[in-house]
């Protein structure tokens, strides 16, 4: 059954050709890696190493702090230099473990038992995933073990695997699906076992025919797994939109996917789970698309978590003179980076180097009530009204107009001819409201 999909949304230029057909390669180890203690949604991890400690690749450097938290591991062998504040990709400074990489280490993993997943109970599987520090690789970096332990009273019937990759430029998920389809299927198998569901759907935007073909060619015969091509439209990959498109279900406001019986996981996360049980390595490296017209050699790289952008860009031919902005994530929702020392973290899907002509023009005009933002908003908010309220700091009224349902997807800002920074205004309003609630 094909549903009409979600309504509204925008069609930014895709610009994926730069890397869509570039094979994934492994980048050389940098001379230093920086592992921030906060790389996920939830409480930051607690460092357990001290300056001078020797660590091997895959060693624990920070342990989880509570259930909604994950541990961190060394992504390269070397010596701990410092545990200090370091530029974080979100623009702040955050505590991080700085490791001087041993240039002569073979970077092999320590001998370690690879558990056979078939022999484990669901609870043991979840625990292994947790110990491996796995978080969602789709962007928000939500601890995966939390998603895999739904409360007793909710019934999960479907696992949705998010291969939409609707952000322009990015090809991380695309390449993963095209090159490692079996790994994706293995991950799905493990997750279905954990969740006890009998159905899984992989949603892929139809602009990735090679990925669709590869996944279909390797479909397991014994499982109900389907590959569903979807219209190319941003934000097809946002989980509520994905659920609407693939299942026709609408996640109620303020509720989670599990409340409509669904767990959504990004393909790269799924593949990572498989990897954990294939190699025994925790989540210490990920696939990152380094792209844009401002970088010398756009590539899809396997990158150790903690690699500084500087080193990453050097591995891709360096910045070109026309580079104007470096964005972590996609250009629609990603953060611009001020500091080339900021490290790649678990949730970094891509690094996009934009030039002047790619960028939205900077001049802003008064809102002309054109209504384009209303036609773009996939959650059917009124960004025009919200924007005016935000400028007047009338946050309470914004809340009455469902600011909470805004997912900051950026469609409204993309389409606004007056170039009003709507998503930014909404993010500020959300922050102000959160602060006010915390104070109350």
């Amino acid at each position: 059954m094909i549903f009409r999909g979600f309504r509204h949304g925008v069609h930014p230029p895709e610009l994926k050709d730069l890397t869509a057909h570039v094979r994934i390669r492994r980048m050389p180890f940098p001379s230093e890696v920086v592992i921030p203690l906060r790389q996920h949604t939830g409480r930051p991890a607690r460092a357990i190493v001290r300056p001078g400690d020797r660590v091997e690749r895959g060693d624990l450097v920070a342990e989880a702090d509570g259930f909604l938290s994950v541990p961190m591991h060394a992504s390269a062998a070397g010596r701990v230099r410092q545990v200090r504040l370091w530029p974080h990709p979100d623009g702040s400074y955050a505590p991080a473990v700085v490791i001087a990489v041993d240039p002569f280490s073979p970077q092999a993993q320590r001998p370690r038992v690879i558990p056979d997943w078939r022999g484990l109970t669901p609870a043991e599987l979840v625990n292994a995933i947790r110990q491996a520090g796995v978080v969602g690789l789709g962007g928000a970096a939500f601890p995966t073990h939390v998603k895999l332990t739904p409360p007793k009273d909710v019934v999960i019937d479907t696992l949705l695997v998010n291969g939409a990759e609707c952000e322009p430029y990015l090809t991380t998920d695309h390449r993963s699906m095209a090159e490692y389809p079996e790994r994706v299927h293995l991950g799905i198998r493990i997750m279905m076992r954990v969740l006890g569901v009998s159905r899984a759907i992989i949603g892929v935007e139809e602009n990735k025919p090679d990925a669709i073909a590869a996944l279909r060619a390797t479909l397991p015969a014994d499982l109900d797994v389907r590959v569903q091509p979807m219209r190319v439209k941003y934000p097809q990959g946002a989980e509520k939109m994905l659920i609407k498109t693939l299942l026709g279900r609408e996640v109620p406001s303020g509720k989670l996917p599990m409340h409509v019986g669904v767990v959504v996981q990004n393909v790269a996360s799924v593949a990572t789970i498989a990897e954990v049980f294939e190699t025994g390595l925790p989540l210490i490296e990920r696939i990152v698309t380094v792209t844009g017209r401002g970088v010398g050699r756009p590539s899809n790289l396997i990158v150790p978590v903690g690699t500084k952008v500087r080193d990453l860009l050097d591995a891709c031919g360096g910045l070109l003179p026309e580079a104007r902005e470096i964005v972590f994530g996609g250009p629609m929702m990603g953060n611009a980076q001020a500091d080339l020392d900021a490290p790649v973290i678990k949730g970094t899907t891509g690094v996009v180097v934009l030039t002047e002509e790619d960028l939205k023009p900077q001049a802003s005009y008064p809102c002309i009530r054109c209504g384009h933002c209303l036609d773009a908003c996939p959650v059917f908010l009124n960004p025009q009204l919200l924007g005016r309220l935000a400028v007047k700091e009338r946050y309470d009224e914004m809340e009455q107009h469902h600011l909470a349902d805004c997912m900051l997807c950026g469609c409204c800002g993309y389409t606004c001819p007056s170039n009003i920074p709507l998503p930014q205004l909404f993010a500020l309003a959300k922050a102000a409201l959160r602060k006010r609630k915390a104070a109350a």
């Binding site: 580079a323 209504g371 209303l374 993010a427």
Partner: protein
């Protein structure tokens, strides 16, 4: 590290459409050029004088009170141009100037400038003129005579009466229909060889220009569509009931300012609803009011008043037609 210093830090989204507000506005200006050219073709130098007067009034007021830089966004040019296109060709230039100044001053700047006004500035300017100088605004020269022959006392001194000049004036098709029950041939209406204001001549040119803008999504096609549908439907039903009293749909659609008003003025982004459902409602309201005023009102033409009246309702329509928010059971309760 010079490289690093040249980097921008902006908020997401980092991409945007290639449309900008000035670009939209100048496209509208561009698509008004054929309409203005048609006016010049039919009414000669008089048309150019009236356009110049209204434009000058609008631009000088905008520049003087809002700063000359704002002229670059092009919206004041639209206001001046559209105002001129609603005026009779024989109007003294000074009156056109007053209209342009009022339109911008009291129709737009007093509300805070571009994007914040409630009423369509050009139409407010025209309504002001019509109430201030009702005789001059209802004197309709017939398109005839050489290019340079003025169709009225365009050059009357400021603040003085226009004098009668030697041109033929006549009732507009709507006036003829309303007061004398004399219909006009449809092809003359479509081509625009009838008497009337500068821009209410060629419906065909206006429709083509409007289609261009609609295709680029610079105007919301639902508004003209809804107006046309409502007017055609009502007119055809009434015509069937009493053909002598009530004109047919073609006449209603192509006479008077309905084309210009529906395509260029009801669609003013600022003064029309932001929701699509609202646009349908807005258009239907305009269509209904046009029919009521034309057929039962004291005035021959009601497009201007219909749009102004519906402009006043826009805040209300916006609030009443908010779509159902994703994940909510019913349309949001208006707080």
């Amino acid at each position: 590290m010079s490289q690093e210093r040249r980097l921008l830090i902006t908020a997401s989204p980092h991409l945007g459409t290639r449309d900008s507000t000035p670009k939209i506005m100048w496209h509208v200006v561009l698509s008004l050029v054929p309409v203005a050219a048609a006016a010049a073709y039919f009414f000669g130098a008089s048309a150019l004088l009236v356009i110049a007067g209204a434009l000058l009034g609008a631009l000088l007021t905008e520049g003087a009170f809002a700063g000359w830089g704002t002229l670059r966004d092009g919206s004041a040019v639209i206001t001046g141009l559209l105002l001129a296109l609603t005026l009779p060709p024989g109007l003294p230039v000074w009156m056109a100037f007053v209209g342009g100044a009022f339109a911008i001053g009291f129709g737009k700047l007093i509300f805070g400038g571009l994007g914040q006004n409630v009423f369509n500035p050009a139409l407010l300017g025209r309504a002001f003129l019509q109430a201030a100088f009702p005789v001059a605004l209802t004197t309709w020269p017939v398109p005839r005579g050489s290019f340079w022959q003025l169709k009225g006392d365009n050059l009357a001194l400021p603040f003085t009466h226009p004098h009668a000049v030697d041109t033929v004036t006549g009732a507009t098709p709507l006036g003829l229909m309303k007061f004398d029950h004399v219909p006009t041939e449809p092809w003359r209406l479509v081509l625009g060889t009838t008497g009337g204001s500068l821009g209410e001549t060629s419906g065909l040119v206006i429709l083509l220009c409007g289609a261009y803008l609609a295709l680029r999504n610079y105007l919301n096609w639902r508004i003209p569509a809804s107006i046309f549908l409502t007017v055609a439907l009502l007119a055809q039903v009434l015509h069937a009931l009493d053909p002598r009293q009530f004109p047919d749909a073609v006449f209603m659609l192509f006479s008077g300012g309905l084309m210009l008003g529906s395509v260029f003025m009801a669609t003013d982004l600022v003064t029309s609803p932001v929701t699509n459902l609202g646009c349908w409602v807005f258009g239907a309201g305009i269509g209904l009011l046009v029919v009521v005023i034309r057929l039962w009102g004291g005035l021959a033409e009601g497009v201007m008043y219909a749009i102004l009246l519906m402009n006043a309702l826009v805040p209300f329509i916006n609030r009443a037609t908010q779509p159902k928010v994703f994940g909510h059971a019913s349309p949001r309760a208006a707080p």
